[in-house]
């Protein structure tokens, strides 16, 4: 009879460390009066983002890729600052740093600017990683340093040739953001946050998602969005949240057009979220942090399998 591998993929010591980190994070939020909430993992609506594929549950809708929409409905209803440690699901994401089901720590701070939220993200990261410094870099600055290119204005061809100098590519693409995301994820990211927490700020407006826009120091419109990297691993993604329901509606519509172009399944926009935004979201900043990855870095592991009891490879 073949030997069946039924044991967890993570050492029990890592699971104990995981439990301690989660308990300390809950204690932090309790102390700072951030309300813990729970929202459904299974909803009739899901995200429109063309790069996030939801898992469909026939008859019910979709497993949620993030608790963002439901949490924004709570914020609009007057909940004040809230957090959630949520199980979220993303189809087709399997790898060293990806598992189709994972744990996201997501929180919203009413009245916080992104700067203030960045300080709090660093405080949460230090619960797991210990005392460690932070550095902030703008997205434009990173592209100037690594490739001598301004990502907001350089030509598509210059991005393409920068990528081809670094990587042997099996594709071509006419979408500017594909090249930006390729250079960011394959070339820049592995070098970020080597000795400290590295926050990347001010993304191109085309990558704003649910962040509002603002003018950077040169007066260029950029997304008020930040990401945290540590040891080359993307850990968190935050926004100064978009409040304008019409603008959000237009971004959803643009997502749906892109989904159609890419031949992806159509999804219906979440009209309850739209109604909540129309009612009014308080001025707030929010962030989603990959808790499994944070714990992975805390224990010095290099794969999520070492901190998840039963990743998809063990089911």
């Amino acid at each position: 009879m073949p030997k069946i591998d039924w044991r967890p993929s993570a050492p029990l010591a890592h699971l104990r460390r995981r439990a301690r980190i989660v308990a300390e994070i809950r204690a932090y939020f309790a102390e700072h009066d951030v309300l813990e909430v729970e929202t459904p993992q299974l909803c009739p609506r899901t995200v429109t983002d063309p790069h996030l594929q939801s898992i469909r549950v026939p008859g019910y809708g979709y497993l949620q890729t993030s608790p963002e929409y439901a949490m924004k409905r709570l914020l609009a209803s007057g909940s004040g600052s809230i957090y959630q440690i949520a199980r979220v699901f993303r189809a087709d994401e399997v790898g060293r740093l990806h598992n189709p089901e994972f744990t996201m720590l997501e929180w919203y701070r009413v009245g916080f600017t992104p700067d203030r939220l960045i300080d709090e993200v660093a405080a949460i990261a230090r619960i797991a990683l210990g005392e460690i410094g932070i550095v902030c870099r703008s997205y434009r600055d990173l592209f100037r340093t690594h490739f001598g290119l301004d990502p907001l204005s350089c030509s598509l061809d210059s991005l393409r040739s920068a990528a081809r100098q670094q990587l042997d590519l099996a594709f071509d693409d006419a979408d500017r953001d594909t090249w930006l995301e390729l250079l960011m994820s394959q070339v820049i990211e592995p070098r970020l946050g080597i000795g400290e927490l590295c926050f990347v700020l001010d993304y191109p407006p085309s990558q704003a998602a649910l962040a509002r826009l603002h003018a950077d120091a040169d007066g260029q419109a950029v997304a008020s969005r930040f990401e945290l990297y540590y040891r080359g691993v993307e850990l968190a993604n935050g926004y100064h949240e978009l409040l304008d329901a019409d603008e959000q509606g237009a971004r959803f519509a643009a997502d749906l057009r892109e989904r159609e172009l890419l031949g992806l399944p159509a999804v219906l926009p979440d009209e309850r979220l739209h109604a909540a935004l129309a009612h009014g979201l308080p001025d707030c900043s929010g962030v989603a942090l990959g808790l499994d990855r944070l714990i992975m870095l805390a224990v010095g592991a290099d794969s999520l399998r070492e901190v998840m009891a039963f990743p998809v490879s063990h089911l």
Binding site: D49, H51, V94, G95, F171, D173, M184, Q186, Q207
Partner: protein
């Protein structure tokens, strides 16, 4: 012809890339939380043996390569081609010296080899991991010297040259590991 998407890529899968059959060695999924996902894929080109590290957009597909490994019996060489036979149905295949390459140094008649077939023709030949071959030429042995650990070169009946212990003689059979090209042991007659 079947095709495979990047999320089906796994080690050992045979695909066509730039007109050549390749085997996938590694597949790493890289995706920004928001944004396009990519796969960094290591492949070995089965024609040239070169290793490629290619970046794909996730969801891209490659055609399957008609590549299979078969266990075939080596029959003989006519000087230009090496002839192999499928023991089940006696179907014969011929492989050029270029295709057989260094494997030729270990091929003994009747030995069962792994022959990689591409579109039905041999693309590569792997000898058995262990072979037993006769020493046809080596310096005379030093009787009783099993302790000093010295070695000497010995030519085998198939043409390979391996380092053998000093006490081993011409005419003896030795077991060798074809992957490392090393002597393993003497074979008792």
């Amino acid at each position: 012809m079947a095709s495979y998407s990047t999320n089906e890529f796994k080690s050992g899968l045979k695909v066509m890339l730039e007109g050549d059959p390749c085997t996938i060695l590694e597949n790493e999924f890289v995706k920004p939380g928001k944004g396009q996902a990519f796969n960094r894929v290591k492949l070995r080109n089965l024609k040239t043996n070169r290793v490629w590290e290619k970046t794909f957009k996730s969801g891209d597909t490659l055609d399957a390569a008609d590549v299979i490994d078969r266990e075939l019996q080596y029959l003989y060489s006519d000087g230009e081609f090496f002839h192999f036979m499928e023991p089940e149905n006696f179907e014969q295949y011929q492989a050029s010296s270029a295709t057989v390459g260094d494997a030729a140094l270990w091929l003994k008649e009747q030995a069962v080899c792994t022959v990689t077939l591409y579109n039905g023709a041999p693309l590569a030949v792997s000898p058995p991991n262990f072979v037993e071959l006769e020493i046809v030429d080596t310096e005379p042995g030093i009787r009783g010297d099993t302790a000093t650990g010295g070695t000497k070169p010995a030519r085998l009946s198939t043409g390979a040259v391996v380092k053998v212990p000093l006490f081993v003689n011409q005419g003896e059979m030795v077991k060798c590991d074809t992957r490392s090209g090393e002597y393993v042991s003497r074979v008792k007659a």
